[in-house]
Amino acid sequence: MTRMAVLTLLAVLPAGGAAQRGDWPMPAKDYAATRYSDLSEITGANAGRLRPVWSFSTGVLGGHEGQPLVVEHTMYVVTPYPNVLYAFDLTREGYPLKWKYRPAVDPNATGIACCDAINRGAFYAEGKIVYNLLDGHTVAVAAATGQELWKTRIADLSQGETTPVAPLVVKHRVIVGASGGEFGIHGWLKGLDLETGRIVWTAYNVGPDSEVLAKPRIFKPFYDRGAELGLTSWPADVWKNGGAPVWGWMSYDPDLDLLYYGTGNPAPYNPEQRAGDNKWTASVLARRPEDGTLVWAYQFTPHDGWDYDAASEMILADLVVGGRPRKVLVHFDKNGFAYTMDRATGEVLVAQPFVDVNWAKRVDVATGRPVVDSTKLTGASRGNVKHVCPTLEGGKSPASPAAYSPRTGLFYLATNNMCMDYQATRATRIAGTPFIGANTPYHAGRGGYLGAFIAWDAGVGKKVWQTTEPFPVWSGAVVTAGDVVFYGTLDGWFKAADARTGKVLWRFKVGSGVVGNPITFTGADGRQYVAVYAGIGGDWFLLSGDVRSDDPADVRPPADFMPDIARHTSQGGIVWIFAL
């Protein structure tokens, strides 16, 4: 084999090498971020017989986002702050712990993290479990023993940077980013060396080309022309606190050698303080993982005035679009549009609303720009702009990643059916405090229900089926070769549905609202298992008001737009495993 061929092969294999077919070695199962499993023991015919086989309390109350990993019959679970890492031995009765790792994490991070002290999970690579601590550190822990191998400070808490994002490991690079779009950070992506934890490169998402790592002739955005776009689309110096955090999911195409990720909102929320497009906030960026070089970028929401982070996953699929097979990237933006894009170039092929949208009339695929409804433009001088759809929780939250089945050709996702009023005010940046400047109360969208789980055809941009839910739906999805799709609800149901029709086949009340992402794996006995976290939180820690019962000194009123959520759930922290 040539050296080149070996490299390509290495790139295609899961970074773990040892990971097997029924394993779940990285956040989205694979580099294409499909959350699809080819396990097929559980089917539409037998899913009704699913039952819980095991549960474990993580000892932490709070938003259990993210998902466990399963590698070689060991399950790895990262908790929200204080970011304990558990390793369960799936070969033994009762799945006892092999080890647990308890890092020292600065408690200040819990107040600086905008939206609950959550963590989005770990990545398995070359015998290491790699993940981020909330307080701005990345750690690598030996998968066999739980020994800490290295710990690197990647972010600056005093500037409002926190690190709940799950890393992606590719080509011996650990790719990480930071949250802080609500704190006026200067958003970035970093590449660390997997062996040592050394920071090899830092690429900013806004600012001069030299910091954005946009090099002449290499950086070719499909729609934009000119140099220094990350500077010229901002007022002088404003970009330095312009946000563009990285808090969602990353994916990687080994053939194109491109790493994809979305950036969050520009800061502050009051758009009048930052005239211009504010590139590359609310955008997808495609970089070389080795050195961070920017290859293309596309901005979903130029001059965002609605907090429409583009942090949702970029799912890589091969679809027929307009009669032609295309290598695409599919992205469900907070802004309510689903984008099907050419992942080599950044050209938008399809952009259609997947929920009710009124801030823009449509996306012009010729220019790549949304056609904005001027009555929905926000800003301190515009007062209270009423009824903007969707809300800043997103038509879909980036916290709840979609799944794609190559068998059905459909995408499966949790959506929110809510609208907001948006009253912007002038904000002052004070390091270590929020830099927001908006009050944005929510109300139910058309139909009165607050969420739905839907199936989407990204080749044409159409909803295929939907199941409405009384509350916003905030869990990720997993879809299997048994054509079963799993998701959880905010009021604490975990559900299995028929991937072709949406019919709910089975459900179980897991004890707390689900904001995590289900996975499926093969157990030591060769059978198929499904795992999910229960533990309401994330934005719902802020927004659900009275779901909190752990602090006698913090008693909150019910949320006005869903006053009875606390009737159905309270905070929790449970890992569940189900099987037939």
Partner: protein, 145 residues
């Protein structure tokens, strides 16, 4: 008095130096709002000089917005990422001096210290504002039909 120019002037002068940079944070350390460490020694803390004064409470409410307190504690201090400050319940004590201390020195789970940015008088007006808030109706019993 409109606190805004005063506060902004303070923020700007802080940003221009005059104070040492914030040290690396350890576990019992605080985040310092604006990176400004409260002066050593601290002020004399006794009773709130503005207790019950409506004008001071209104100024405190404005400062609550200008200083981004609302971004963490929610509008009206109903609770957000930081705890509710209007439920009549306190983690660190609800006496005049205890609330003052929480704001001046910060608290370990992410409450920034504001003593380096705000003069004691402005902090007392924040205390006055917080003391003026009515607890929500549903504390402590909630019932559903």
């Amino acid at each position: 008095m409109d606190l805004r120019p005063l506060i902004l002037a303070l923020v700007v002068s802080a940003a221009c130096g005059g104070h040492d940079a914030a040290p690396a944070m350890g576990h019992e350390a605080r985040v310092f709002a604006g990176g400004v460490i409260p002066p050593a020694g601290g002020p004399q803390v006794s009773g709130n000089p503005f207790r019950g004064d409506r004008q001071s409470a209104a100024e405190g409410e404005r400062t609550f917005g200008v200083m981004n307190c609302d971004g963490c504690h929610g509008g009206g201090a109903v609770g957000w990422v930081g705890p509710s400050l209007r439920d009549g319940r306190w983690r660190y004590g609800g006496s005049d001096g205890e609330i003052f201390q929480s704001i001046y020195y910060g608290q370990p789970h992410g409450m920034p210290a504001y003593g380096g940015l705000l003069p004691p008088g402005a902090i007392w007006k924040l205390v006055t504002y917080l003391q003026s808030l009515e607890p929500p109706a549903n504390v402590p019993t909630q019932s559903w039909k």
